[in-house]
Symmetry: C2
Subunit: 299 residues, 2 copies
């Protein structure tokens, strides 16, 4: 197996791109794919200031790495959820902090216990749907912190597998509201931060390879509460199809982005009829938003 | 396992409907599902005259059986393709003729060799994509014969698995033209016959069970040229998802029908800018239609 560029020994093969690469030219290929997504979907202006949501997983660290390399002014936001059971939160925070400090990039850490007096586990105890409470909490804090920081966009590490599997789930239900939102760029509107996903066209395997080549150390502990088998199932389904028809996953997502205007309603992408929360002022469909109900004990 | 209706011994279980049935009540359930699809999608007026496209497979014979039972004036159209290799065409014709004659229903047989001087195998020899030529031929003849017969609709036996797997294939490519056409009813327009699919909400397994209960004899030979592994693959994928979340397949298809107006373009569903073929007058995008090029030697 030879590198497509230099004909040297390849270390990785991508059937979807009908190509194999050595480490050096894989790196160039990977960065080009990120640049392509940024340009094609009008994600960022050159050198823009961005806030990267950092979990400590490969996706968020790789996207921070590449954006910094491409000259964007990267700052990170890490939310310490306070999940102690298997050291998940401590390791996530440690890995994130060490990555950012080694690159001399600023990282803001928001500790739920310090700030709100309880961990996500304690807050979740009263709720049956723990993961959705955790997701809501992270979304709220990322939105608000990005808005306060005045950056051009909030960057997340969502990759092609995340987006394509979410898309498949949404399409199987024809959930039009979500079908309008599985986009690589969401405009800043209705009080929500502008959101961009520079890894939208790159698969988990490609991102893992990039992390490997650059010896990026990522969190190895898994969240002990993670039971999210549903998207995993759709990822598996898409990987099966991909094995037989390389490129399907990417065509599926790219084709969706081209067609997504069909699903757009008049209310905008990030929220229909919303009003400011009477406690915090962030957009909500209720009088008091879910975040304030949960974390500030307001009903 | 008990019948949902009479609590007698059930012979079949449907997780998607959270129900099991004895033979008698399965039969009632099956017929109700066909009536429901006809009513919900406005397929047919009471007692309407219909032409059923009959291959001799379970789907086409079952749909003819149920429609006749429901009081529609059923007539069949069988196309003898002239595929001799394993007796496929002879058996298909024999099974179809015997089913219709036993029920006292009229069946029109259109023999390609008799009418056009060659079988689909001979016509296909010059073409690389044999299956698509065969499909085009059948569609053309069904359209024309139904129009000549003056029936309210051309009925095909497409089932939920056919439609959901085609839909998944179309959605993975975001093929908007096909996404507008995977509907249970296509209006008669631009010279095309009105087409309805009364088995749209019933799965292959349910149809096979109905054929079994009624001892309907179906073709056992498979077309020796059938290599259509692609849709089979999507059927398998959907069945895997269905096993884990019963009802997904049906929700996927029903949700699509509700959303399909989003994919409709101004050209109508069955064809955009078409004109009459200069040889036969049927709608085509070229000067001479593919059918006349193939079967009437016109270029």
């Amino acid at each position: 197996m030879k590198c497509k560029v230099c004909k040297g020994e390849a270390f990785i093969k991508f059937p979807a791109h009908n190509a194999a690469f050595c480490e050096e030219h894989f790196d160039a290929f990977f960065i080009r794919q990120v640049e392509k997504a940024i340009r094609r979907y009008g994600m960022l202006s050159p050198g823009a200031g961005v806030m990267v949501a950092v979990s400590g997983g490969k996706d968020s660290l790789v996207v921070a790495d590449v954006l910094s390399l491409l000259g964007y002014a990267v700052r990170g936001l890490h939310i310490d959820l306070g999940i102690d059971d298997n050291g998940f939160s401590a390791q996530s925070r440690e890995v994130s902090a060490s990555f950012f400090s080694r690159r001399g990039l600023p990282l803001q850490v928001l500790d739920l216990r310090e700030t709100f007096g309880m961990s996500v586990v304690e807050a979740g105890r009263r709720f049956p749907r723990f993961c959705s409470l955790c997701g809501m909490t992270k979304r709220y804090l990322m939105n608000r912190t990005a808005a306060e920081a005045g950056v051009e966009a909030l960057v997340t590490g969502h990759n092609l597998d995340d987006l394509a599997s979410a898309l498949l789930a949404n399409v199987l239900r024809w959930d039009l509201r979500y079908l309008a939102k599985t986009l690589p760029v969401l405009p800043g509107e209705n009080g929500f931060a502008r959101k961009v996903k520079p890894l939208a066209l790159l698969s988990e395997r490609e991102i893992a390879a990039y992390a490997g080549v650059h010896a990026i150390q990522v969190v190895t502990a898994r969240c002990p509460y993670s039971t999210e088998a549903k998207f995993l199932r759709f990822k598996r389904v898409l990987n099966d199809i991909e094995d037989q028809s390389p490129g399907t996953k990417r065509r599926f997502y790219e084709g969706y982005v081209d067609a997504a205007h069909l699903f757009q309603t008049s209310g905008g992408v990030q929220g229909g009829a919303l009003r400011p929360c009477t406690v915090c002022g962030m957009p909500t469909s209720a009088e008091v938003c879910s975040f304030c109900k949960t974390w500030r004990g307001r009903r």
